[in-house]
Amino acid sequence: MEILKTEKLTKYYGKTKGILDLNLEIEKGEIFGFIGPNGAGKSTTIRLLMQLIFPSSGSFTLFGQQLKVENPRIRQRIGYLPSEINFYHELTGKQLLELSAKLYELATVEIEQWAELLELDLTKTVKSYSLGNRKKLAIIQSLLHEPELLILDEPTSGLDPLIQSRFFELLKEKNAQGMTIFLSTHVLSEVEKLCHRVGIIREGRLINLSSVAELPGRAERIVEVRYEEDGDLREKYSFAQIDPAVRYTDGIHSFHVQSHLHEALAAIAQHPISDIIIKQPSLEELFMKYYGRGEDPK
């Protein structure tokens, strides 16, 4: 079942482009990663989905219903975690969550359990919370009404690694229970950890839509080698034949190998090696390489 579908969704702010001809389909139970640099159009897309702004052209459906005008009832089924958390400063965490529960007409809420899980003191006012604690409060608030679709905009900024890990576990658990998750981020490792599919947006246009494994360059490996022989050996052993962009930093030669790994390794291993690390490039590195300078990945 389709939870979200956009068709040629376009948003202009005056003459400035927000997003252009965005076509997306997200299925129930999917964790979808939406990645792109700052200003690419991620937040514009989310604000359109949350009905905070209206499209210039194109259309979108949520839970099978086309949204031409504001439909507040649909929002009962959506949880939203904005990138910047701005709650009423004078309220305590508990008061804020109780207000949220009332606005969503929830009969009972398990506020204390959530607070315990994320280690949040609900007796303090929002004003006194650190950025991380505000984020925790916003996470609880977005999940309190058990939404079917959870929209997360840069969810982990400000969270410490332990809470991040707990939060990811929580998301996986909710997803296993059927929750669909739309995750917008520029921290690509989050996408690697969680997402089934990923959409890449740049300058308002969707430029790639695939599974994480199918992202361009995912077969690439980085081989970092420390030879027994000291110094920069790139010219001496013609390493450019293995990788024309081979780098040498602090005694380590770094080779980017696109394919035929066994041949490259054989060539690399022709000289005595004191240490070797073979790793997959992070999505950050791939993103910069394939999308960062406006190149077409194909």
Binding site: Y13, R47, M50, Q51, L52, I53, F54, E70, P72, R73, I74, R75, Q76, I78, Y80, P82, E84, N86, F87, Y88, E90, L91, L99, S100, K102, L103, Y104, E105, Q141
Partner: protein
């Protein structure tokens, strides 16, 4: 039920502000009422006032003849301060009701809840209405309560209607405030324009006694809607004044609500 929750939330957030304004207005009215015995039938005061320029006297509704009764005194300078403060309170509430949510980013919490923008707007307006009414009632009640311990109030209906006219004027300024709040995303700008409108209106009213083109400007003032001494004499509000003040309030509400329903919320 959902709307009631929103209204309660607004009242909860505004309770300190409400208390402050109530204390200021009630305190001011107590101060004015306490001076009643110094003002009424004070020949020296009457002589002094006769020497003031007419334009200045008009600005503050000061009329020598009205200084013979408690009601007449209350309809002069005390009324001017009462209506100015009440209107400022009303316009401050209204002009920041939506702009504050957008400017401070709290709208990203509020406008994604399962409430329509119109519902949110009217719930906020409901809370504002209750607060403006509360301040008006306390200010009026204090005036009557303290006044009756000092003098005999011979025209209570007329006096109440005078204060009611201040309330209606305040509601009209709130109507202007709602349009500003929904048009302008910056809270301070909306507030400055709202309060600026009240002060400019008062300035235009002050120019009424200057004659010529300046007296025509006074017709634009929202503070010229009601003829206070006619209210005291007739024990009634004129229909046109009543309809105009309520009309501005209601049109402001409807226009504000429709602007909000259609605009992009740039949070």
């Amino acid at each position: 039920m959902k709307s009631l929750n929103l209204t309660r939330h607004e009242l909860f957030l505004g309770k300190k502000n409400l208390l402050t304004w109530t204390l200021i207005i009630a305190g001011l009215m107590i101060m004015f009422v306490s001076t009643t015995t110094l003002i009424i039938d004070n020949a020296e005061m009457a002589e002094l006032i006769e020497g003031f320029p007419q334009a200045l006297l008009d600005s503050f509704n000061i009329n020598v003849e009205s200084f013979t009764t408690f009601e007449g005194w209350m309809a002069s300078e005390p009324y001017v301060f009462f209506v100015l403060l009440l209107a400022s309170f009303a316009v401050a509430l209204a002009s920041t009701s939506i702009s504050r949510e957008i400017d401070q980013g709290t709208g990203e919490f509020l406008f994604v809840t399962p409430h329509s923008r119109r519902n949110i707007f009217w719930s906020k307006a409901g809370a504002d209405f209750l607060q403006i009414s509360f301040v008006f009632l306390i200010g009026t009640a204090v005036t009557f309560a303290v006044g009756s311990t000092i003098v005999s109030i011979t025209n209570p209906t007329g006096l109440f209607l005078v204060f009611l006219s201040a309330y209606l004027t305040a509601l009209a300024t709130a109507g202007i405030g709602y349009v500003l709040s929904c048009l302008i995303d910056n809270q301070r700008t909306a507030l400055a324009l709202g309060v600026g409108f009240v002060l400019l209106s008062f300035l235009f009213k002050s120019l009424a006694g200057m004659g010529g083109i300046l007296s025509n400007l006074a017709k634009l003032s929202i503070f010229q809607l009601f003829d206070l001494f006619a209210i005291l004499d007739n024990h009634a509000l004129s229909f046109s004044s009543l309809a105009t003040s309520l009309g501005i309030y209601i049109i402001g509400l409807v226009v504000g609500s429709e602007i909000l329903a259609r605009k992009n919320l740039n949070l």
